[in-house]
């Protein structure tokens, strides 16, 4: 008899302890908010909004940042932490895609210049 009670008591004790610890001890992800916001700003500055693929990921990052902040307000810091990780990953991808586009445009210009020089005609501005 005592053994059943003992087990039940132990189970309840461990279960409730873990729930309490999860809620109370998960750190507030302020640093992740800051780094997500910084990445979003950087993406914006690299012109991500003008590159369709990059713009999509920038938008996702912004939405996830808002969701993360809302979760923090509701004191669900763990969920918030993971949502903010998504936000940062999307913002960083937006920056990279923006750079890719920029490099491709530059490479295209350089190739046109090669063609122009080889054909003996000066490169026409605006024909890239």
């Amino acid at each position: 008899m005592t053994s059943i009670f003992d087990r039940a008591a132990i189970t309840i004790l461990i279960g409730s302890a873990s729930v309490v610890s999860a809620c109370a001890s998960y750190p507030v992800p302020n640093a992740k908010v800051a780094s997500s916001e910084a990445a979003i700003r950087a993406a914006d500055e690299t012109g991500a909004r003008n590159v369709p693929q990059a713009a999509l990921h920038l938008k996702l990052a912004e939405e996830q940042l808002q969701t993360g902040k809302k979760l923090m307000a509701d004191e669900d810091n763990e969920r918030a932490d993971f949502v903010l990780r998504r936000a940062q990953a999307d913002a960083e991808l937006a920056i990279a895609l923006s750079h890719t586009q920029e490099s491709r445009v530059e490479a295209g210009k350089a190739l046109n210049e090669v063609k122009a020089v080889q054909s003996g005609q000066p490169a026409q501005p605006g024909t890239y």
Partner: protein
């Protein structure tokens, strides 16, 4: 007994739980499926070559997601970790594409530089050869100019020597005029050159041969004695005799011609013996050709 029943229930519930876990394991969340595919793509493409460290990071993130999935397939955390892993794989791909484009641009810039340099070198070579040709042409012009000046000088010297030898060379508006007395050249009423005349005309021929780019007219003149028609004819024959002699001594045929003027152009009165002697003469006129 009660304890035994409870233990059995515990075992059964464990078995059920584990079968549930196994069942859920085959149902990976969409995020994890996407992350696996994204990683496969990244590690098989240019990212492996250009951004291996980022591909490795994507793998670590994927491993974390897989572990979370193994630990608790139903947890939202697995989806989040997988989502992040997929983005990391895409990031590696994007950065590899950037590196590829940058490398292409670098090569193109180098090509432009090389091509421009080569074109510049060609232009310089061409310019140098044009310069050389120009110098050559200039030198040729100088040489020709000098040759002309030398020829002119020689011609003038020859005429000067001739003037010293035979005394009557004058520069007139119609050209250099060499006057030879008729009595020195011909016997009266004859058109055959006297031996003494031949010596003198040989000197004249030597001087005339130096007169390149000149035309030479040999004019025969008589005094007014006798018949005008026969005088005209005599002057023509005498002029022709002089031309024939001069060409035989090397004066070019196409440069010289004869002209008889009879008694029409006296240089002195025909009333005195001395005047008539002066009128009987042969004049050789040396004129520069117009093109010079």
């Amino acid at each position: 007994m009660k304890t035994a029943t409870h233990n059995l229930a515990l075992v059964l519930s464990c078995l059920l739980t584990s079968s549930f876990v196994a069942c859920a394991a085959s149902q990976a969340p969409q995020e994890l499926v996407d992350a696996r595919a994204a990683y496969q793509r990244a590690q098989a493409g240019p990212a492996a070559q250009f951004k291996p460290e980022q591909v490795h990071e994507a793998k670590s993130a994927l491993d974390q997601a897989e572990k979370s999935f193994m630990d608790d397939p139903a947890e939202q955390k697995t989806r989040d970790l997988a989502y992040v892993a997929a983005r990391k794989a895409q990031l590696a791909e994007a950065n590899a594409a950037t590196a590829q484009a940058d490398s292409l641009k670098g090569k193109a810039d180098q090509d432009v530089k090389t091509e421009t340099a080569s074109q510049l070198a060609d232009a310089r070579t061409q310019l140098a050869s044009t310069d050389k040709a120009l110098v050559g042409t200039r030198q040729q012009l100088e040489t020709e100019k000098k040759a002309h000046a030398d020829a002119d000088k020689r011609a003038k010297e020859a005429m000067d020597r001739l003037a010293l030898a035979i005394g009557s060379v004058k520069e007139e508006s119609r050209g250099m005029v060499i006057t030879l007395s008729g009595s020195v050249l011909f016997a009266s009423n004859k058109d055959v050159l006297l031996p003494a005349a031949q010596e003198r005309l040989t000197q004249v021929a030597e001087a005339l041969k130096t007169q390149e780019d000149h035309k030479i007219v040999v004019e025969g003149h008589t005094d007014s004695q006798g018949n005008q028609v026969s005088n005209q004819s005599l002057s023509e024959r005498r002029a022709q005799a002089v031309v024939s002699f001069l060409t035989s001594k090397g004066v070019p045929v196409d440069q010289i011609r004869a002209q008889g003027l009879g008694q029409n152009r006296p240089v002195a009165e025909n009333t005195s013996a001395e005047g008539r002697a002066n009128n009987r003469r042969v004049e050789i006129i040396v004129q520069p050709i117009e093109k010079r």
